[in-house]
Amino acid sequence: MASNRDDFGIAIRYALLQRGAKQKFSIFSLIVVAIIIFFIDVNASKPGQIARGLLNDFIYRISFVASSPINFIDYSTKGITNHFNVYKENQNLKEELASLKAKDLNTEFVIQENKNLSKFVDEQLSASQELVFAKVILDKDSPFIKSLIINKGSKAGIEKGMPVIEKGNLVGRVVEVNFLSARVLLLDDLNSRIPVTLEPNSAQAILVGSGEDNRPQLSFLPERFEVEAEYKVYTSGKDGILSAGIPIGETYNEEGILRVRLFSDPNQINYISVVLVKENPALRIN
């Protein structure tokens, strides 16, 4: 019995403390250092945040350079695939065009929708609003976080919380700002919460990321809300940060859960624009 305990103790000591001929550090000492770093990071003070920001900038650049061969292969593969899909796409577009022409567009519906939108839009997202155009430098496919790293940061005037759009559609918001880079939390991330309005009936809801690709869902919908119908989803601007009326996507019903098909596929984003708006407390609803 005592011998077993001794064996166990020796093996534990060996596993944690033994360094071997070429090892400079024992696992135990590195675990202690990792724990210290962890607690410093989760309780980061202002200087700690600045240091982390500088470190992030540096590592993101290295990662961008290191990932370029992989990105090049990925880009080339997509390019070739797209090339071969052109014919099929053309046929589909022709069919779609014919179907659209045949459709009797309900203009009254569009006018009503427009009126409803104008009611709550306090500030329109317009060309005069300042935008910062940025390139996506890192898009690591992680099961735990849906985010992008862009090549603009506080130097370009970007601040935490600012909305990020692609081709006029909302894709996420800035959650981390470094001097030369920033992280954008995508709408499908589990931590993403965006107040939205649904047209044509102006219902208010919260768009919640599900942690799964391109499948955010709507929560806090009005009672007896008709989930079968299709709605267009826009930002409501009620958080006082996002401008109202930025298009997000269209709803679809999945087993009683109202999900949103985003207009901008988060997996296909290369360039984005950050809207330089600051929080407007007057618009915030508590």
């Binding site: 064996d7 020796i10 093996a11 534990i12 060996y14 596993a15 944690l16 033994q18 360094r19 071997g20 001929a21 070429k22 090892q23 400079k24 550090f25 024992s26 696992i27 135990f28 590195l30 675990i31 250092v33 990792a34 724990i35 210290i36 770093i37 962890f38 607690f39 410093i40 990071d41 989760v42 982390r52 470190l55 992030n56 590592i59 993101y60 290295i62 990662s63 290191a66 990932s67 992989i70 990105n71 890192l138 898009d139 690591k140 496919d141 992680s142 099961p143 735990f144 976080i145 985010s147 981390e176 992280r183 589990l190 931590n191 942690g211 799964e212 690709d213 499948r215 997996n267």
Partner: protein, 173 residues
């Protein structure tokens, strides 16, 4: 000259596991299939660490394992040190089994890996849940661990083949 060239080739070939570890930690390289099946993702770094620490820890080095974890945390926006802790717990468990096990074969390795993953995920989830504000998707962690475990035989065969090819021997001290 020929001996020097052979030595150089051997040293370069020995670097591949380390390069893979850094590659999966810092670049956009991954084998995740979340685009096709939302639950299928792997933590290849853990498999690389487990296999090589169990056979020959000198190939990776504990300092590099720690550093790769820190880099991975920066890229994935986890609190600094959490991935490093996960990697080190797997390394420590593999090192423990290395001291205890006389023979190493796939099924035994697989069992050891299961234990190592349970320790690593439990430890990291505990500190993340208790001390950080990160919202944890427990399902995703479970699936990630499960599919990582499932992938091990393939990694085992590939690395075994590679070790035989370039002549990296197991160390038993």
């Amino acid at each position: 000259m020929a001996i020097a060239l052979k030595n150089l080739k051997f040293h370069l070939a020995r670097l591949l596991p380390l390069l893979l570890l850094y590659g999966f930690s810092i670049t956009t390289l991954d084998l995740n299939l979340t685009g096709y099946f939302s639950i299928v993702s792997f933590n290849l770094q853990l498999l690389i660490i487990f296999y090589w620490v169990l056979r020959n820890p000198e190939v990776l080095g504990f300092g590099h394992i720690f550093f790769a974890g820190i880099l991975n945390d920066i890229i994935t926006n986890f609190p600094l040190g959490s991935s490093a802790l996960m990697y080190l717990v797997v390394a420590a468990t593999a090192n423990y089994f290395r001291a205890k096990a006389i023979r190493k074969y796939l099924m035994l390795d697989w069992l050891f890996l299961l234990i190592a993953l349970v320790f690593a995920y439990a430890f990291v989830l505990f500190i993340l849940a208790k001390f950080s504000s990160v919202e944890i998707i427990y399902d995703q962690f479970f699936y990630n661990g499960f599919f990582t475990l499932l992938l091990y035989p393939i990694i085992y065969i590939l690395f075994k083949f590679y070790s035989n090819l370039v002549g990296i021997r197991d160390t038993d001290d």
